[in-house]
Every structure is written in structure tokens, then in C-alpha cells.
């Protein structure tokens, strides 16, 4: 599978409280959560994000609360993939479990700039910054996790 989209770039330690503030956790409806995604650190995000766009960030993306509402909000906002230097562990699990594609790539997290056009080939793990022409290779998932992804999420893999 290949995707291409415009980049929304954030820094290190983007926590799940800013991805979706707790004041909105009285619902789990994806579209309601998406309406407030990132608003405490980027109030323009909801207005400017287009379906297929890509989120790029620094280290420890998704730290803090275990709320699965965070990857749900990002996915429902139309983001097709999150690329970060690395992820906090609970967010990493949650994203895989709900089917939000994520890639760990320190070099891409450093070099890709806000507004760049980026293409991702999930089969090869190659990330291409179309704007600059640079390419990066993401860390491959271990086979155990690939199996969860291929079966369509954790619960599907239990059947």
C-alpha cells in the first residue's frame, strides 16, 4: 500500500492530552473526537487537515494517558499515517490495535518539514519527501506485530 499527503509537523513528547483533551472524553465517537484533535497545541489543525495528510513528530509521540481516543481522533481527522522518531509504548499499541498506520524513523522525524509533500510505501517502509527528494527507511515491524496488522487488528487476530 502506498500513500501520499501533506505534512503536519510537531515536536517532541506530543502527549495524548493535547492530541485529544480529556474534556472531550465523554464521547468515543470518532467524528466528535476528530473535531477537537490537536486543538490545544494547534488550533488550526482541524481546519487545515485534508484526508490523506501525514503527521510527523519527534521523540516519544503519544506519551501520557492511555486514552485510545487519541489515535481514534487522529485517524478520524483524515491523517493516513504518523511518522515519529519514536513512540510512547501505549500509543504504539493503541495505534496498531485501531488500525492507524505508524512508522518509526528518527531520520524522517528530523528532516521532514511542515508542509512538505511526503509519500510512504508501507510494504518496503520507504518514506519519500517528495518536496526535497530525500528518502528514508522506517524500522520494520516484527513478524508478530505484522500478523496483527495483517489480520486487521488485535481483536480480529483473536478469532
Amino acid at each position: 500500500m502506498k500513500i501520499q499527503g501533506k505534512v503536519h509537523k510537531y515536536g517532541d513528547h506530543v502527549d495524548t492530552d493535547v492530541i485529544i483533551p480529556a474534556r472531550y472524553l465523554n464521547t468515543a465517537k470518532p467524528e466528535e473526537l476528530a473535531a477537537h484533535c490537536m486543538e490545544d497545541i494547534d488550533k488550526d489543525f482541524v481546519g487545515k487537515v485534508q484526508t490523506g495528510d501525514i503527521m510527523v513528530a519527534g521523540v516519544n509521540f503519544g506519551c501520557g494517558s492511555s486514552r485510545e481516543h487519541a489515535p481514534i481522533a487522529i485517524k478520524a481527522s483524515g491523517v493516513s499515517c504518523v511518522i515519529a522518531k519514536n513512540f510512547a509504548r501505549i500509543f504504539y499499541r493503541n495505534a496498531l490495535n485501531i488500525g492507524l498506520p505508524i512508522l518509526e524513523c528518527p531520520e524522517a522525524g528530523e528532516a521532514i518539514q511542515n508542509g512538505d509533500e511526503v509519500a510512504v510505501d508501507f510494504d518496503s517502509g520507504v518514506i519519500t519527501d517528495v518536496t526535497t527528494g530525500e528518502t528514508f527507511k522506517a524500522e520494520p515491524f516484527p513478524p508478530f506485530i505484522q500478523n496483527i496488522i495483517q489480520k486487521g487488528g488485535l481483536l480480529a487476530s483473536l478469532k
Binding site: D17, S65, S66, E68, I90
Partner: protein
Amino acid sequence: MAMTMTQKILAAHAGLDSVSAGQLIEVNLDLVMGNDVTSPVAIHEMESKGFENVFDNNRIALVMDHFTPNKDIKSAENCKQVRTFAKEYGIKNFFDVGKMGIEHALLPEKGLVISGDTVIGADSHTCTYGALGAFSTGVGSTDMAAGMISGKAWFKVPSALKIVITGNFQKYVSGKDVILHLIGKIGVDGARYRSLEFTGDGIRNLSMDDRFCIANMAIECGAKNGIFPVDEKTLAYMAGRTDRKPVIFEADADAEYDEVIEINLDELKPTVSFPHLPENTHTVDEIDEIPIDQVVIGSCTNGRIEDMRAAASVLKGRTVADGVRCIVIPATQTVYMQCIEEGLTKIFVEAGAIVSTPTCGPCLGGHMGILAAGERAVSTTNRNFVGRMGHPTSEVYLASPFVAAASAVTGKISCPCELD
């Protein structure tokens, strides 16, 4: 192959003789926990995917603590959904208003977690139970659903940081200062994916409430879990709370650690984390005057009886400063009752504080103490991220109950020693 304490617990629950860091394993769970924010998502996942059974209705705990007593209609609907599920599936450990407390104070108090257990909870502070010598960690709602269905979870076996604790506390220093100091030292991702294994002869000077507080915030440096060895204090705490027999695991003497960090309790001072990351630590004696609007004393981090006693010892015979709202939240019904019986509630109310029934409320900006734009709080909670307690321009300073109570009296961030 030598193992850490965490690795030994995981190996035992995976039915393996040994495990090593990085290995992917499937473990049997002793308990699966969720709250009123995370359980509805798990229940929806489970039911929408066609699962109709839980692995064991005795080993699931559902605690209605975040937006309760319900703050609005949507929250009430969420609790209603969980209540219906609990009834339908015969979930024994369903804790509703009147019985509930803040989950991570409640479960140990009820004897639902004991030494040697493996526990997942759909709440990041599930790592709290490491204080009892259990492996416990936070997960999301789908992992919770899978745990409720199968009684199992997959993990990557973590490596560990060894935290060697020596010495004893000076006056007005407590468990909160230990963990804030550690997070300040290694950063909010300093233990990402790894265990914090606490050891050293200073541990005997840490009360169980200190240990719960320290293990609770392991997640704030990214750790998978934080764990303490089991000693007489642990066994005394569990006595009478459960019929199950604790299983004591110890790290091998030659277990490998990524890093060894020493903390001498004698050298610690009252510590505060500045906005907007828990790693932004300063000792109270080195900071300039920082006026405040609100104080919160409570949460899964610091809502236990010793925390209440610490706060009351500072507030006794004193009054909350003009212009400061002081909100005290005992974490469970038992702690709430103890506060009444020990006269702490009277001290709080006479000082001009309010005392709430248990709720996570203000810690995550839910209800019961939301901050307006630009307002500043000193809080015994665990996170000071942007917008955590309310408006995105508000600020949270994390501190111990001693410092929070002293700050309520002076109206600025203070050590109780300034009042002596």
C-alpha cells in the same frame, strides 16, 4: 540467563523458564481493569466484533472514577453502558459511586492485586501496583477488550533501569519528591519501554503510600512498569485484604540493567515540576515567588491516607490564603472515612478548603476544579501537560501534599518549612 524481577514475573505468567529483553511473549493475566472513560470503548470493541464471553468475571475490575459523580449527560450514558455490561456479564468487581474510589488507590485497598500478579489496566497509571511487587502496566481500550475476552496480553519483555535507594527522608520530603527527582534526572522518556526496578536499603524507609506514589508515576518517564521488592511492609499491607497467597519474585543478583541510578533520600528536598512536562523539576528552595490560584490535593498519585495526614499537618490551625481555592479529594471511601474519623476533614474545612468524595475529576481537567485561562495550580497529581487541568494557557505545578498544602496557606509555591 539472569533475569530482573519484572522478567521473572512475566516468564512465570508466560509459562516459560526464562525470558530475555526484547522477546515477544503472551502472558496470562490475573486482573484486567478499566474505568468509565476507557471501558465503554473496550465494551463497544468487544461487542461490535461479536465476542460474547469474558474469560473470568472475577478477574475484571470496572471502576467508575473519572467523570463521576457524573459531570454531564454523556458521562452518565458512558457509566450506564458499563453498569449494564457489568450486570449482564456478572462482573464481580464493578465499583459505582458509593463504592468506588480512584482505581489505583482502590484496587490494592480491596486486595484485588497482590505480589507476583500480572495486571493490565486501561489507564496509564496502572503501573501503581508495582509497589506491591506485581507486574502491572497501562494499555488502551482494545488491549483491555482482548484481555477481558482471552485473559491474555502480549508484551515485549522490557530491559530495566535499577534505581538504588539509600538513606532516609528529611522533614517534609516524601515519595512524591523521589519520583519527581528521578523524572527530572532521566526525562519524560528516560525509561521508555523499560522497567524501573527499585532496590536498596532505603526502601525500608518508604511507606506503602510512598511506594504507591513512586510506582504510579513510572509512566511519566515512559516506563512500562515500576516495581518494588516485597518486604515486611508489603506483606503487612496485604494481610487481611485477600485470601490469595502472594508470590514473591526477586531479581537475580547478576541480572543485567541498562543503567544504575542512585538516589540518597537524605539529599532530597521538596521538589516541584514546572509546566508543561513532569521533567521540569526544581527544588522549592531555589524558585522565585510564584503566586497561585488553586491547590488540588488528591489523585491516584497522592490521595491516600498518609497524603491526607501530610496535608492536614500543614493546614491545621492555618487558613487557605485569600484568592486561593483549595480542593482536597480523598482517593477512596475508606480514606474519606479515615479523614472523618481522624479529624482531618474538620481541619481541611476549617482552613477554608473543600473536601470532595472520590473522583479523578480535576487531575485530567474533567470536573471539580477546572482552571480558567492563565490560572495556575499547585497539584499533587501526576501530569502538567498543556491544558491538562483546564484552559490551554493555564499552568499546573506538580508537588507533594506537604508543598501543596503550604502553598495553599501562603498563596505561592512554598515549603512547609517556611511556616515553621
